[in-house]
Every structure is written in C-alpha cells, then in structure tokens.
Symmetry: C2
Subunit: 156 residues, 2 copies
C-alpha cells in the first residue's frame, strides 16, 4: 500500500515483521502520527490525532499499540509527573532525535534539549559499560530529566 509520499516504504515495517507482528492500518497510523510530531503526546493525544484520520480506531488499540511499540523499542514512554504517560518515537533508524527533558515542577512545561548530548553520551557509554559488567545487567536505554522552575514560573 502506497502511503502518499515518495519516500519509499516506511523504515519501521521491517521491525514489525521481524518481531512477528502484523502491519495494520491502526499501527501504521499511530506510528505516522508519532513520526510527524516532536511533541510529547499522551495516549489520549495520540488517539485524537489518529481519530481524525481513521475515526474508527479506538482508544484501546492506541494503548495496546503504544505498549507494543515501547516493547519493540520504537517508542519511549515518559512520566512527567502529571499522572498520564507521554510517548515519543525513540530515535529513528540511526540515532537522530536524541534528546532529554527539562521538566518544570510548577507548571508542568517540558522543554527538550539537545545541548551537551555529546558529553552525556560519552559519560553514559562509560557508565553503561561499567554497570553492565558489575551488575550483569544488559542495558538498552537510559533516561535523563532535569527538574526545576521554568522561565515563566521563576518570575512569580
């Protein structure tokens, strides 16, 4: 099935097939929604976006698909402390998109940052190596978040 742009088959199809999962309209649509935003979407957000495209796709399927994508490593699930999970496409096929978060504990605003990532990667690689060995732990990903007051909340 062509998808309406000329960029060839979506790179994630192989990941589905390889995992023994079927490609379906809902899954295709959900990944597309995630790939076209840089925002931190909740399950409800994804559902609403998806619903505009195929109004028959249900919230349950969104939850189940997001869960699947997280297990497959295609999507990261974040907790910013407001009681609902947020989802982001992890990094594309070759590590672009890598970033971390600044979370404002007053208003809940979340800022993505990509500064200092290189230094972090360096440190994290070392740390991962050390930890893997010491705890015999097979590390697959990491999470870094900073908390504090954002620009707007500082002033109040």
């Amino acid at each position: 099935m062509p998808r309406g742009n000329g960029t060839g088959p979506p790179w994630w199809h192989g990941r589905f097939r390889g995992g023994g999962y079927r490609m379906t309209i809902p899954r295709e649509t959900i990944v597309n929604v995630l790939s076209k935003t840089s925002k931190h979407l909740s399950a409800e957000d994804v559902y609403m976006a998806v619903h505009k495209i195929h109004s028959n796709i249900g919230l349950t399927t969104v939850y189940r698909t997001l869960e699947l994508l997280v297990q497959m490593g295609l999507v990261f699930k974040f907790d910013f402390g407001d009681g609902r999970a947020r989802y982001e496409l992890s990094e594309g096929p070759k590590g672009e998109r890598h970033h971390h978060h600044l979370v404002c504990t007053s208003c809940g605003r979340v800022i993505d940052y990509t500064d200092f990532i290189d230094e972090e990667i360096e440190l994290l690689n070392q740390t991962e190596k050390g930890l893997s060995k010491k705890y015999n732990f097979n590390i697959t990903s990491h999470l870094i978040q900073f908390y504090g007051q954002c620009n707007g909340c500082n002033l109040k």
Copy 2:
C-alpha cells in the same frame, strides 16, 4: 517529644516549620519510615509500615504527606513503569544517599547504584549550568535511570 534515640531533634523539623507546616504524628511517622529504609516504597508500602506504628493513620494522609514532602524537596518520587509511584527520602541534610537506578524492563527489579556518581555529578553540574542559562531554567534536581534486562532475566 523524644524519639527513642539520642541523636537530637530530627533535622527535618526545621524544614516543616520553615515552610509553615505543622509537625504531626502522621508526618513524623511517615518521615521516620522513609528514613529507616533504603527501599523504594510505594504509597501503599508506606501506609502499611506506618500503620504498624499508628494504626489510625489513613492512606489518604500518607498520600497527602508524601505529596507535601515531594514539594518540600525532602522526598523524590519515582516512576519505574509498574503503574504506582515510588518514594525515597531525597538525600538527607548534606547530599549523602545520592544514587541512581537500574530498572529491569522484564521483571521490574530496581537496583540502586552509586558507582560513577562522581563523574556524573561533574557532568551534570556543567549541564545544569549551561541549561539554566540557556533556558533560564532554575534546576533543582535531576533523574537518571538505566533500563534493560537484569541478571536473572538475561538468562531466560
């Protein structure tokens, strides 16, 4: 009220008073429970521990107190992905206890580690400084977690 050991008044009393909050039996008990464990307690865990000491303290109070402690910065709230929040006393009066987590995405086990903390602190200080300036963000704390498969789950 003496507390049964000879170490003087609990260091956190001032933090309560300074914030305009009252010292009460439930609050005292809850902080005590947290300070006597190195485990990652859920609200229910805290409730059960507290309940053994003062069986009249309710779960609601535990939730409200934990929330308050988090706001005061005395307690960190963590999400390990199993649907319930975990709480830990943040660091004591002078930064001891500082550690991060290794979370097994298969079985949910959480390992504390204190290795590499010095290197991390170094990097994080720099990062914090840079981010504070660039985004005019007043950073108060950070979170680092690694994810993967633990010893036991590796073998399966």
